[in-house]
Subunit: 654 residues, 2 copies
């Protein structure tokens, strides 16, 4: 039985289905990215033109404070932003810079004096701006940026200065061509004391586009992709801005230079500011998801019609997606894409509910814990989703052979444009370390809260874990059906807990007197990353399972449960060395995992087309010569291939 | 102790050291590929200009028959070709099309009538040509191409025809802009009988560049990379060429249309013809190697000076290559690059010794067996080397963060240009299936040659293997030091043999009466690919070990032995699930593998710069802003970092 892709799309569309429908319609109004040979300048001009069209649509306004003409729909605007990934990723990133990063910083780090003055023109796209955080010398460790903002009470101005080339703002979107103003992150110094990194509004260009005095603007030039975005470099030579240009939601400087902030710790203050900008990270994960879906739609539709090599029995050429190795390339990647889609939807919902426009920062513990959880999830999902995008788009390109290498078939641009997602808005490796750090401190807190009996039991468990690891024996090896949802989850939970407990044991060594803390941390770094990945795999699986549970139609629920199973089993297969080494599954069972993945691939093969159609990518955005064969083969009597017509028992697995 | 990179370079340069030295000097004479924003047409024109410079250098002549003014140095020319990968990959591919594929086909498939007429002008670059094999509908299964060459005895001509759009020649280098002639692969029909695919010389453009009557030329347009190469499409509408245009080394058609060939089987004849073209595949593997080396040189040199995040003890910022996770990204990849370099060198040597200019085709069994071995090795190494290139260049890009995404820093072009290597000159997945097929039939032959006692013992071994697999118990688990060379090899050999025996057992099912052969083959496809990979890993390790043995300096041998060990252990680590599942190593031992890789990474860290300098990539070809920090940091008192100065005991491992 084949499910209706429209029914599937309703499930995938979820809470912001109306926004998605609107964006699908809107995409048609933009001038598409060319497969043609645009120069960098031409492509930048086209992207700016499309950005203005977006502004006219009123869609970007939806993410801002209703008090200033915004729609207050943070989740909707992030959803819409990600859906641009079906179309043109340069536009997505340029829009993200303008409204997400620049506008977002003014909104959340600024106060009414900034909102009154700038929000309207930012929303309308009349004031184009930059988010100038990264420096040439500091990309990941942004707490140690070296640009300075020194307050001068005599003139009531801040002096923005770039002390050396390493402190130059680098890779800044909107800087090379269009930006008129920048939110500049700098070490705030007043009365000779540094209070850490703060954000200030700094005009960089005049109306006519020339750099303002003291501002040097460079161009990052051609990039691997995203060439519609004008990334540039900014240096400041004692540039002065009024005191009021400090975005003072979290801290302020009085006329006489007195510094004040409700958050006393400089480090905590900085990370609180950063935390409010989590929207950018979430949006990148969403954009990566859309691009991955598009690549899979292309490769799977091509694979379902392309034929190569004859079946020795029938003499007829075989549809390449009927080959097991082709299924293995594409279908587990498709299942993971589904899983990440639902995890992303949950993340956006959580963010939306948390970032209402009336909450005060850090005002209650519940919000703080929620914010912390949101940041951790966002970091983890961003890392996994963007690496998944890079790997999957690459696989899709290869699965289309030479045709996949031609620009006209869209895959090259998807690949080139998404590549930087793994290292911008937080380098993935650094983000996973962040996740691990939070998991470890939560773990420490859990242990700390235990009573005496609980602590003893906990210590015994730890010891037993350590013993089991040394002996390879585990007291309780749970037996279960590999296709069983609860058993799959048990494996993922056990792995996460195991890795975390072991990491905690290793970290404790750093506390020993005379320990070389750097050596301990460094030696455990790969372990921590593995633990963080295990955590993200598990929360992604939970989101998927919850989404399946919400589906009412039994046939559709059955189909999605198979996809969920394929995701879970392919995660388990990918790390089966862990499960066997630590005695969670037996050697024989581990080999059965591969067989179970193969079986599920075969079972889902006839539904592959339906599953990609469910993404609801507008047909015009998939139109390319690669899919010409589809039209031809639909006319031919030999298609659909026998296996596509074969009925599948949706309940067979899971 | 730090080794001298020049000494290392002599080892890496090997048999064709003089050719490498010459190419290094020659690269400076070419106009480099621009980081600038060239249009497709500008880049094509530049590449053609560089191609002519190459021709003037006389270097391409070295690969051709001395009887026609060539140098007869096949190995040298392939080595030189690959070294172009340090410079511009478009030029490498364009040169490969002109002299390797087009010229090579005329040389090995043609006879004196073609050599006399064309070889000189091909060598000189006066006659630019295409290698027109791939069709839109047939890329991997080239035995079933659909272009026809029908002989007409009345006019003593062949009529070349494209029956439909699927039979159009596609992705053909030199076709869109420069080619004047093409070697066209077509089904040869004479007297109403088809004799399979043969190659014919077909003029496609007049001197002034216009398409000849009946020839339709299309342009593949912009691609993900290699935009200096003019890939295009060729269709033929009953185009007539003289009988003499058949490249008739392996088969001929007499004036009256009588077909003759020393090789009676049409299939064997076709694969013999293809086999002579193995040089292209070997050259791609070499080019991938050069590009990978360049990417690693950039990322490792950057990583050895870039600092990020402070050490909690010293407060000093840490050089990123001192972080374990950064080492794990780059150093095992570097070790694999070394391993593939030596395997490639052996492959080129083998080819050179086999393809002398006086051997007759298929004239003796030894040559035939040698050719077969060469083709299998070439297929396997091409697949592994190009996938390794794609993965490693991606990792290097990410390891350089945002800077790695800028065109000025060279990594984007390396990545985009090499991407298609995994699917051209043979799709990697199809190539590994080819390797597996040969391994299986060799295996069958080994079994077939055994006497009665041998067969019984063999059957018992198989049974025992199967038992061990079911029970997870293995009679002899060899114990050894993970750092021991012999033990590492034992593991790789056992894996290869095990996977092959198991594959043979599965394949036997296809022989059962009534078996669904397609289903059996298809179900075992992933297993076969794993077996092929295991084989290639082992032969690559053997090449590396042999290369280490040839080194005379103890210090250098010690260093290379560490690198070899890192390669071996990272292969074992990557497939440790296999080794544990099948009882080759214990659970505890498997975890020790990861620790051993970490330890080796730390030990090789201080030698990382030396190891990339050993590739001898001309400094001018690495010059980019990414490495500006090197100059700065060399001036700074804090560099070299303490760990770089630390002496390493080269004998500590291995």
């Amino acid at each position: 039985m084949t499910s209706d892709p429209r029914e599937l799309r309703r499930v995938l569309d979820g809470r912001w289905a109306d926004v998605r429908a609107e964006v699908r319609a809107q995409l048609g109004e933009l001038r598409l990215t060319p497969e043609a040979d645009l120069s960098t300048e031409e492509y930048r001009a086209l992207t700016t033109e499309n950005l203005r069209r977006l502004a006219e649509s009123g869609r970007p306004h939806q993410g801002f404070d209703p008090a200033y003409g915004g729609g207050g729909d943070v989740g909707g605007v992030v959803t819409a932003f990600a859906a641009l990934g079906y179309g043109d990723l340069s536009l997505l990133v340029k829009a993200g810079v303008q409204w997400g990063l620049f506008g977002g910083a003014v909104q959340v780090l600024g106060t009414s004096r900034h909102h009154d003055k700038y929000l309207r023109s930012i929303m309308d796209g009349d004031l184009l701006g930059c988010f100038a955080m990264t420096e040439t010398g500091h990309g990941s460790d942004v707490q140690h940026l070296r640009t300075t903002a020194t307050y001068d009470p005599a003139t009531q101005e801040f002096e923005i200065h770039t002390p050396d080339v390493g402190a130059r703002k680098d890779y800044i979107g909107n800087a090379a061509r269009d930006g008129r103003m920048a939110v500049v992150f700098a070490q705030l110094i007043t009365g000779g004391v540094s209070h850490g990194v703060h954000a200030l509004l700094v005009p960089i260009r005049s109306e006519d586009g020339t750099a303002l005095p003291g501002v040097t603007i460079g161009d990052c030039g051609r990039k691997a992709g995203l060439n519609g975005v004008d990334n540039g470099r900014l240096s400041f030579d004692h540039v002065r801005v009024p005191r009021e240009n400090l975005l003072n939601h979290f801290a302020d400087v009085a006329e006489d230079g007195t510094y004040s902030s409700p958050i006393t710790s400089a480090s905590r203050r900085f990370f609180t500011m950063l935390g409010t900008l989590v929207r950018g990270r979430i949006s990148v994960a969403g954009g990566a998801g859309a691009a991955t879906q598009k690549a899979l739609a292309l490769a799977i539709r091509y694979g379902a019609t392309r034929r190569q090599f004859a079946d020795p029995e029938s003499g007829e050429e075989v549809v390449v997606l009927d080959y097991l190795v082709h299924q293995r390339k594409l279908l587990p990647a498709l299942a993971t894409t589904y899983a990440l889609h639902f995890a992303q939807a949950d993340l956006v919902s959580e963010m939306h509910d948390l970032q209402s426009f009336d909450a005060e920062p850090g005002s209650n513990v519940e919000t703080e814990a929620g914010q912390r959880d949101l940041e951790t999830r966002a970091a983890g999902i961003k890392a996994m989703a963007t690496w998944h995008a890079t790997a999957t788009i690459q696989t899709c390109r290869e699965a289309c052979g030479g045709a996949g290498y031609l620009a006209e078939n869209l895959l090259p641009q998807l690949k080139a444009d998404t590549d930087v997602f793994t290292t911008f808005e937080g380098d993935n490796t650094v983000l996973l370390q962040l996740v691990a750090k939070t998991l470890l401190s939560d773990y420490g807190r859990r242990v700390g809260k235990l009573d005496v009996v609980g602590k003893a039991r906990f210590a015994a468990d730890l010891m037993a874990g350590s013993m089991a690891e040394r002996t390879g024996l585990r007291a309780v090896v749970r037996r279960g059906d590999l296709r069983d949802r609860a058993y799959q989850r048990w494996l993922l939970v056990e792995r996460e807990e195991h890795l975390l407990a072991a990491a905690a044991r290793r970290m404790r060594k750093a506390l020993a007197p005379g320990a070389d803390r750097f050596a301990v941390f460094n030696g455990a770094q790969d372990h921590l990353l593995v633990a963080a990945r295990a955590h993200v795999d598990r929360i992604v699986l939970d989101s998927f399972a919850a989404a399946v549970n919400r589906v009412e139609s039994p046939a559709l629920r059955g189909l999605l449960e198979q996809v969920r199973g394929l995701y879970a089993l392919s995660v388990i297969e990918g790390d089966r060395a862990f499960f066997v080494e630590h005695g969670y599954i037996s050697r024989g069972r581990a080999k059965a995992v591969t067989q179970a993945v193969n079986t599920l691939c075969g079972q889902l093969r006839p539904q592959a087309r339906t599953l990609v159609d469910g993404f609801g990518i507008p047909e015009a955005w998939l139109d390319c010569p690669l899919l010409d064969g589809e039209r031809d083969s639909h006319a031919a009597p030999t298609d659909p291939s026998p296996s596509q017509e074969e009925p599948t028992d949706l309940a067979a697995v899971g």
